[in-house]
């Protein structure tokens, strides 16, 4: 950023130039990040007539309307798709977090051979391609008659999120001092009680991060739902909405309106649980 030989400028000039470069970079990247989000929000809340008036895209809003959302409600299955998404996302989040808490505690507190292999297996499956797993799952669900069921999709989504939630809890429980548990044992508490009353409250930030991650994977998923749910009634919102642009009756206004709806749950999480979210990143990133 700065020249190697600073005698060309005075020290203050050099510092000032550096500040300017910093702010310009920040501004460029902010623009790159903000513009698409801005477009989505404005197009979703404006009537298509206003957006496309005069043959050009008008992105300075003149008035807001709920029209796009009403069209979605009245002419599409958005509500149904949304409900499907909520059901499988909630189920998968609970299942994935529960498995992660149980497995994470066991892996931390019990010694056994092959622990390092277990760790590698968990991390290996964390890097796995959903599409590679989806093909055999499709055939297995097909032969068991489980395609188009909440159960199958829940299982498939949990398969994608669990390796990381397990890993996260495994890491997190290692930061919970054993002495806390020992103190409870000495007072005669059973191991179960200890876990329930002592370990879990302390591990709360850990399993909230895990739950957020599992939620994000399931809510964001397209691949698994596209393959496991082939029946129109069972589409999740991502699969259902992905077909909107192919329809003549649905335009950009409705498309951005549905995008805004899909973005609300993650947005609420970012708003209220940001701290836990960043913790998830610091343990090894989220996919």
């Amino acid at each position: 950023m700065a020249t190697a030989d600073s005698s060309w400028f005075g020290h203050r000039t050099q510092q000032r130039l550096q500040r300017i470069a910093l702010y310009v970079t920040a501004l460029l990247i902010t623009t790159f990040v903000v513009v698409p989000v801005y477009l989505m929000v404005v197009i979703a809340l404006q009537s298509p007539a206003a957006t496309f008036a005069g043959g050009q895209v008008n992105l300075i809003p003149k008035g807001f309307t709920a029209r796009n959302f009403l069209v979605l409600l009245n002419t599409t299955e958005t509500v149904r798709y949304f409900t499907n998404s909520l059901i499988v996302t909630a189920s998968s989040t609970i299942l994935s977090t529960a498995i992660a808490i149980a497995a994470g505690y066991g892996l931390t507190r019990f010694e056994f051979r092959g622990k390092s292999i277990a760790a590698r297996a968990v991390l290996f499956s964390y890097m796995f391609s959903p599409i590679v797993l989806a093909i055999p799952l499709y055939v297995i669900f097909y032969s068991l008659g489980l395609l188009n069921s909440y159960f199958a999709l829940t299982l498939a989504l949990t398969a994608i999120s669990a390796p990381f939630t397990i890993w996260l809890m495994w890491q997190y429980f290692q930061t919970v001092p054993l002495s806390l548990e020992e103190a409870a044992w000495v007072r005669g508490a059973s191991r179960f009680r200890t876990v329930w009353d002592v370990v879990l409250p302390v591990a709360r930030p850990g399993y909230i991060s895990a739950a957020i991650f599992a939620f994000a994977v399931a809510w964001n998923d397209f691949t698994m739902a596209r393959i496991v749910m082939s029946n129109d009634d069972m589409y999740t919102i991502n699969v259902g909405a992905s077909l909107f642009l192919d329809r003549v009756t649905i335009g950009w206004g409705e498309t951005m309106a549905v995008s805004l709806l899909i973005s609300i749950p993650p947005f609420l999480i970012a708003l209220f649980l940001q701290r836990y979210l960043l913790q998830g990143f610091s343990v090894g990133g989220l996919e």
């Binding site: 892996l107 599409i131 797993l133 799952l137 055939v139 890491q171 642009l245 999480i269």
Partner: protein
């Protein structure tokens, strides 16, 4: 810390220990068998058959041979590599740039950090809608801007032009995933002791020298992780390309994951689809060996 834990962990034999052991491991083992071991073994088994679902005929490695001898296969592999390298590289550059900016005490730094969560949290489909709109040939904002600036005479159909399809897919992906690099690098930057910079400044080091000798060495591990892990994920990415170009135009953006889907559901050939999935599995295994050799990640403990 993990060593001292291990030494202390002579699990006391208390009520419920055995039960707890069962409760914690049975779900893990059952889950792994049901959703990982069985499907992967099943897929590898299927890959040895022609028409494995309806009318199985054992063909050994026949599916693999016919995949690998098809000249198009290498093109698809190349597309995957290009896509993975381009998206990972650009995300790294962009993420590093912004992490360095936010790490300097600038006004609005905290707001910027919060902002960077958005691309990451927005579902892929939403990101795709945004970029399909921006890059649309008829009403796209980018074409409008470029035309008004006199840079292009004709609007460009970015996602369906041979030259632009791959760059368009890459930009869409980078928009979403640069945050990944950003957060990991920012965490590392904030862990660097400010005294190091102070000392360097006193000794007359320039900004560049401080960056090269202090910042970069601290970031090296994180950068390696981003390159490797993000690279693997992008190599395996299905949804972004499927939802933008379906692998087109003329298979210009067909990567291996897209190809697996096409073979399975368009050509309904589960033998070859699982064989290609098998090839991807072995490629991942090879990458994982590099990952574990480089980092021994399983010995790391969170803090």
């Amino acid at each position: 810390m993990s060593v001292s834990l291990k030494n202390r962990l002579r699990t006391p034999d208390l009520d419920g220990s055995t039960w707890l052991l069962l409760v914690s491991f049975v779900p893990l083992v059952a889950f792994f068998i049901v959703v990982w071991v069985v499907p992967i073994a099943y897929a590898l088994g299927m890959s040895l058959f022609q028409e494995p679902v309806r009318n199985p005929v054992f063909v050994g490695l026949g599916n693999y041979v016919s995949l690998l001898t098809e000249p198009t296969f290498w093109g698809f592999l190349w597309n995957s590599v290009v896509y993975a390298i381009a998206t990972t590289g650009l995300s790294l550059v962009l993420g590093l740039g912004l992490a360095l900016v936010v790490n300097q005490k600038i006004r609005g730094g905290a707001a910027l950090r919060t902002l960077m969560i958005f691309p990451y949290l927005l579902p892929t489909l939403v990101v795709i809608f945004m970029w399909k709109f921006i890059l649309d040939p008829n009403i796209g904002v980018l074409n409008q801007v470029l035309e008004n600036a006199g840079l292009i005479a004709e609007p460009i159909a970015f996602f369906s032009t041979l030259t632009w399809a791959m760059p368009a897919v890459v930009i869409t992906s980078v928009w979403k995933f640069a945050s990944f690099a950003f957060f990991i690098l920012l965490a590392r930057l904030q862990a660097i002791d400010p005294d190091l910079y102070e000392r360097a400044r006193v000794e007359g080091a320039t900004t560049w020298q401080a960056f090269r000798d202090i910042t970069m060495p601290h970031l090296r591990g994180a950068i390696l992780i981003i390159l490797l892990v993000r690279g693997i994920w992008m190599f395996n990415k299905f949804d972004i390309i499927y939802l933008t170009t379906r692998g087109g135009p003329l298979q210009e953006t067909t990567t291996l994951p897209i190809r697996v889907f096409q073979i399975a559901f368009n050509e309904v050939n589960f033998g070859e689809a699982t064989a290609l999935a098998g090839i991807m599995f072995f490629l991942l295994a090879a990458a994982a060996v590099v990952y574990f050799r480089t980092f021994a990640p399983e010995t790391e403990v969170a803090h």
